[in-house]
């Protein structure tokens, strides 16, 4: 066997795939062969590294050197410099935007330095398509321990001690959920994994499935042992083809190794898992709707009780856990619940993965211990707001959540603390908005989403969200009326109180939270017919302020419909008959001269 001196861990997550990592991999392999290095240097395609904004990214083992934004054109130089001559190739290394210094080692980069990898402990380290690599990282030890040494009650006790709560959004204690399902009478029970990650702006579950699918399977097997189930289902969004492919490979390999199927590890315990693909309906992330969908019906929720722990899939007792929750389980079993509970706050234990995106420098996947402040996530890890713009708010929990403004940025990541400031932990989407985001328009965006995804079963959600959307549309169109704000509040509280499922009950949250923190923007739209963020087209004049205009001509060059007249050293002018109101010039103007 050849001795491999260096391994190149090339990110193969969806983000890096789409910035070209597959072609880069081929190019590196070609270059290595050309220099005869292919026997000592190996390229490994890993799961999502997390630093999606800089993709494709690569980590050089064992030195831990990090390369970003790889392109096919740069590959020959990279291979020659680093692997032939032995000096790191500076051009592709990370430069700290503040100090302008190059940071060669991955763990020294602030984005990684403030994180704590539990759920993502294998990201970028193993090839997710090879089960042996997972096992080499103590994979399936949790299953071995749970199946051979522990009783179902001991497993449940350990999970309860850990204090882990559902990572899908609601935060229900996982151990308790299992206990209810175990106590339910019946021979046939199901373990379900919710991988229907529908919140726009959330991609943690996808990355976990892509980077470490066996961790999720392991969690499911342990859950099955705890509640005595023989069959599991993973409900995955159809929009995640790579995650589905990696799961299929993982299940096949686990079966070959006797980790799924009959008599797992000779313990006499049988359990198998099937993948079920969703068909594009946000409401199917709700537990009862998800089960309906697996049954092949319209995915509509039903009233609870009975809870799924008593009557779930095909009316049998079922446990439904989120991907991230399940990915934690094996480590809790191996290291003990006390170990897990040692990190976090009073009521929220362990770590939480956030999908950090929007108007922030370092977009990507971030795992932090519970109790970390939002400010640390956005500024220390996220690197702050690009283009010198001002922070406005961060939206947590997607369309069911709310926004957190500047004054509450020191709120810790904790289920209860986040609810107090009017948002929810949710599944972990964290979308940062700067001053150019209009909060009324944002509320309208979420309401448009909710009313489109409302399944139509209950009246408050079906009719109420439509009415809210109509009012918000009117406000953004400059036709808002003074009484609109009261009507919005009344509708929102009524829907929250009376809707059937979580989608409706939380749907008005973005409206309520923007009303709470950004009432000034609503007032400006309604009373002054003005959009302070300059996003609502109907409220813009499309004129240029000659006082502010620096005569630079950027707007003229960017206009797609030749509607802007400009000559050197002259103030630009917009011809309204040609203008298509696309807002391109608003984005290009650095001085805010267009209004």
């Amino acid at each position: 066997m050849n001795k491999i001196r260096t391994q190149l861990m090339l990110c193969g997550g969806t983000g890096c795939h789409s910035t070209g990592s597959i072609a880069v991999k081929e190019a590196i392999n070609n270059e290595l062969r050309r220099h005869g290095l292919n026997e000592e240097i190996q390229v490994i395609e890993t799961g999502c590294n997390g630093f999606c904004a800089l993709g494709p990214v690569m980590l050089v083992h064992p030195e831990g050197i990090f390369y970003q934004k790889l392109t096919i054109d740069e590959v020959p130089k990279l291979v020659e410099e680093h692997f032939l001559k032995g000096r790191p190739y500076k051009k592709l290394q990370y430069v700290d935007p503040a100090s302008k210094e190059t940071i060669p080692i991955m763990n020294d980069i602030p984005f990684f330095a403030h994180q704590m990898f539990w759920v993502m402990r294998n990201k970028g380290i193993i090839d997710p398509e090879i089960i042996d690599e997972y096992i080499a990282r103590d994979g399936y030890f949790g299953v071995a321990k749970a199946l051979k040494e522990m009783t179902p009650d001991q497993i449940i006790e350990e999970v309860k001690t850990s204090g882990i709560r559902g990572r899908g959004g609601a935060g229900f204690p996982t151990g308790l959920k299992w206990q209810f399902a175990k106590a339910s009478p019946g021979d046939v029970k199901y373990v379900l994994c919710n991988a229907d990650e529908g919140d726009p702006g959330a991609f943690m579950d996808r990355s976990v499935l892509e980077a470490d699918p066996h961790a999720v399977l392991e969690g499911m097997i342990i859950a099955a042992k705890a509640i005595n189930s023989r069959q599991g289902y993973i409900y995955v969004r159809t929009e995640y083809p790579l995650a589905i492919k990696r799961l299929e490979i993982a299940i096949r390999q686990a079966r070959e190794y006797g980790l799924l199927g009959k008599d797992i590890l000779g313990s006499g315990f049988d359990f198998d898992v099937e993948i079920y693909q969703g068909a594009g309906a946000f409401v199917c992330g709700e537990e009862t709707a998800l089960m309906r969908s697996i049954e092949g019906k319209r995915g509509m929720p039903r009233p609870r009780p009975p809870f799924p722990a008593h009557k779930g899939l095909w009316e049998k007792p079922s446990v439904l856990n989120n991907v991230e929750t399940l990915a934690n389980i094996a480590q809790i079993i191996v290291n003990g619940g006390k170990w897990y509970a040692s990190v976090g706050t009073e009521t929220s234990k362990g770590t939480k993965v956030f999908a950090l995106s929007g108007a922030v420098n370092n977009i990507g996947l971030v795992e932090v211990p519970m109790g970390t402040t939002l400010r640390t996530i956005i500024y220390d890890i996220g690197g702050g707001i690009p283009k010198k713009k001002k922070f406005k708010a961060v939206q947590l929990g997607g369309p069911s959540g709310g926004c957190v403004p500047e004054e509450f940025l020191d709120t810790p990541v904790d289920y209860e603390a986040i609810v107090k400031v009017g948002a929810i932990m949710g599944s972990g989407g964290a979308i940062v908005m700067d001053e150019s985001t209009c909060m009324v328009d944002m509320a309208r965006f979420f309401m448009d989403f909710i009313q489109d995804e409302s399944c139509g079963k209950c009246t408050p959600c079906r009719e109420g969200t439509r009415r809210i959307l109509e009012i918000l549309n009117r406000i953004c169109d400059g036709k808002g009326e003074p009484e609109d704000i009261e009507t919005l509040k009344e509708l929102s509280y009524t829907i929250k109180d009376s809707a059937l499922c979580g989608l409706g009950q939380t749907g008005p949250n973005p409206v309520l939270s923007t009303l709470r923190y950004f009432i000034d923007e609503y007032n400006a739209h309604i009373f002054e017919k003005r959009c302070p963020a300059k996003r609502c087209v109907a409220l813009l004049k499309f004129e240029i302020d000659p006082e502010i205009c620096t005569k630079c001509g950027l707007c003229f060059k960017s206009c797609p419909s030749d509607a802007i007249e400009w000559k050197k050293k002259e103030v630009a002018k917009i011809d309204k008959s040609k203008c298509v109101k696309c807002l391109t010039c608003f984005d290009k103007c650095r001085f805010g001269a267009i209004f």
């Binding site: 068909a279 594009g280 995106s357 929007g358 989403f449 797609p560």
Partner: protein, 162 residues
């Protein structure tokens, strides 16, 4: 199975494949979505007549199957164009200006969401977050993903798809 079923967009080979899908899934509980998905993959969309045909094969009422097909956004009952444009309407893309990209496409090709151009060159679809927020705003044409899309670049990109 009704051998006389005919539809201009469905060839005999396609029908043969669909028949196979129906017979393998016939007695499985909860298979209706799988059958619809696989059939749509073969034909490209789900003509109403085909839904009717499948419902007979699966022995469930056509209204129930139609109800399922219309509930999930994956299923389309109108023909698809040669190229499918999918616009991500996730929050991150929205914050970074996907709305303007969408409007530019709509204005240029005179199509709205879920429509196909008369020459069947493009179909315009929207998706609820592709989970590639690091690349926002994101547009997908067929299998090609375009990140950091902007309203001034989008038409140049689409021009490559004839």
């Amino acid at each position: 199975m009704n051998e006389d079923f005919q539809h201009p967009d469905i060839t005999q080979d396609m029908l043969k494949e669909i028949n196979e899908i129906i017979s393998t899934n016939k007695n499985k509980s909860g298979a209706s979505i799988t059958v619809l998905r696989n059939s749509q993959n073969i034909v490209g969309y789900l003509p109403v007549e085909l839904i009717d045909y499948i419902s007979k094969g699966l022995n469930i009422s056509s209204s129930e199957l139609f109800g399922i097909a219309s509930f999930y956004s994956l299923f389309s009952m109108i023909p698809k164009g040669k190229n499918t444009i999918r616009i991500c309407l996730g929050t991150a893309c929205y914050v970074k200006g996907i709305k303007e990209v969408m409007e530019r496409i709509s204005n240029q090709y005179k199509i709205k969401e879920k429509e196909t151009t008369p020459d069947r060159r493009f179909s315009l679809e929207t998706v609820r977050c592709l989970g590639a927020c690091g690349l926002a705003p994101v547009m997908v044409v067929n299998q090609d993903i375009y990140g950091a899309m902007s309203s001034d670049r989008v038409l140049d990109v689409l021009d490559r798809y004839k």
